[in-house]
Amino acid sequence: MSMGTSSLAISTDGLTKRFGERVAVNSVDLKVRTGTAFGLLGPNGAGKTTLIRMLVGLAHPTEGSIEVLGNAIPAQKLAALSMVGAIVEEPRFHPFLSGRENLEIVASLRSRLAMSNIDHALERVGLAQRSADKVGGYSLGMRQRLGIARCLLVDPRLMILDEPMNGLDPPGILEIRALIKSLVDEGKTVLLSSHLLDEVEKTCDEVAILSHGSILASGSLDSILSGTGEKFTLRTSSDREVEKLLRVHEFVSGVESDGTALHISLKGNEVGFDSLVAVIAREIIGNGIDIYEISQDRVSLESRFFEVTADAGQSALGI
């Protein structure tokens, strides 16, 4: 599917970063649509943070191009980053300054509007009461919140959050998840890099799985979860007869019986999962067989992630 540049918050083409012989990011074409929560997944050392560092001008690409909110990086860095809030790795602060003063340091480089947004940003992350305390006394979770407040100073169109849930307690995670969802509801784009797969699954609409510097899979969460096809469970009055009926269809890639139900795998198809299931159901009923249960087998992001990265690992090892 082709997408116009204006509909993309982030677009990279052939983005590559080498450190000597080591390739940290390998020809990455990343497309993040505006108004989405996009999850960037990958094991440690996959290249997620290096990719983010290039997006925000902290590292220089070896090859390839980057556009952030329609502005080329690094040529139009000021224009692009004036609309971006980012946490790269862990948020860092001057420990001898208060939370408010730390925000003032960054806001002063942004704009007068950013200075006037400090109170609002602190309130939004629940730190208004502690803003006068020195950051040296903040917990990791409070520093994460303050990092998010720093992102909100400019009322950003794009937020890039690298492991924002680190150090947060469960209520804190819920709050930040709700905050990300509310930002997306406001039309902002959030790029969330995380190794917390469950968190990404609950927060993001689209994901990319990165391993060894390359994107292995990318797209909507549903398409990633379905992988090359989808599975569903079927219980009927005559499973053996249904098995014979389904095997003749090209879009059915596999039928397995566990003695109590059939587990059917469908190939990826433009018609869509629901339509294919409807076709199958009509055929079964047309043959006078009763259907007791049809349910989609939901694959977790975690199992899909390990499936994709394991394949890549085997390829890399020549297995």
Binding site: V56, G57, L78, L81, P91, P95, I105, V106, L109
Partner: protein
């Protein structure tokens, strides 16, 4: 006024306001460091106050043996304190300004604002200069008050000499603030930069300047150039004693070259830094 002129003046006003906003935030990073500020104030205002307080106590206890603390001899002490002793707090303030963003990791968040690394680097220098000049000016004014107010029978320095002394103290200490900031930007950490600045200035240069076999190589030492330009007569005599007589041009070249080289290196490191 035409609308485009109004718009242009509005943009200039906003840019000006933004600059003061940035400078104010930058100075806050230094003024909130209690240890650094205490050392800066003690090394400037404190050094002047304590020195003259002790001398005045001596003078009051035995006016015949100890003359009035003001006048030319008092002025020489002001120059010695603010042009030599103050190099230590100037170096500490400069290295702090040059390294604190990198040391804390905040540099990453400053770059992510989209501001150029060059403007962030220069803002750091400007902040350090402003924070340094305030206690220095206060210390110099206290010194001048003593020099003229408590001159007694001593000859007072001319206004021209006093003005020259002010420029000298400000110039020398700023050279050290800026050189230290550049060196700290190059290292990215404060400790080694302080050790090099103070070790080089007070130990290595102090030893090497007395090694006559080095000949005119010693002219490139910062302390040689600074001593050579000192309005305090006793300091110029020290250079003659060790066989050095750099030209005025050499002095100025050396004084400009040290901070310039350190800051070009520090800026280049920041420019290339993959934060």
């Amino acid at each position: 006024m035409a609308s485009n002129e109004l718009a242009a003046s509005s943009v200039q006003a906003k840019a000006g306001t933004l600059f003061w906003q940035m400078l104010h935030a930058e100075t806050k990073k230094l003024t909130r460091r209690k240890g650094v500020m205490a050392f800066t104030i003690v090394g400037t205002v404190g050094a002047i106050v304590i020195t003259f307080a002790i001398l005045e106590i001596y003078h009051l206890s035995d006016p015949l043996k100890y003359t009035s603390i003001g006048g030319i001899s008092g002025f020489d002490k002001v120059i010695a304190i603010l042009g030599q002793v103050a190099i230590i707090p100037a170096s500490i303030l400069g290295t702090t300004a040059g390294s604190q963003d990198m040391e804390s990791g905040v540099i990453r968040d400053l770059i992510v604002t989209g501001r150029s690394r060059t403007s962030i680097f220069f803002l750091r220098l400007q902040g350090a200069v402003v924070v340094w000049l305030i206690p220095l000016i206060i210390a110099f004014l206290i010194g001048l008050a003593v020099v003229y107010g408590l001159a007694g029978g001593n000859k007072e320095p001319s206004i021209a000499l006093a003005a020259g002394g002010a420029l000298y103290c400000a110039g020398v200490s700023l050279v050290y603030v800026i050189t230290a900031a550049g060196l700290a930007s190059l290292f990215g950490t404060r400790g080694p930069a302080i050790a090099i600045m103070i070790g080089w200035t007070f130990v290595i240069e102090a030893i090497l300047v007395n090694v006559s076999v080095l000949g005119p190589i010693r002219d490139v030492f910062l302390t040689t150039a600074i001593t050579s330009l000192s309005p305090a007569a006793n300091r110029a005599r020290h250079l003659q004693a060790v066989g050095l007589s750099p030209s005025l041009l050499e002095d100025y070249v050396v004084i400009v070259a040290w901070p310039l080289i350190m800051n070009v290196l520090g800026w280049f490191r920041g420019y290339r830094l993959e934060a």
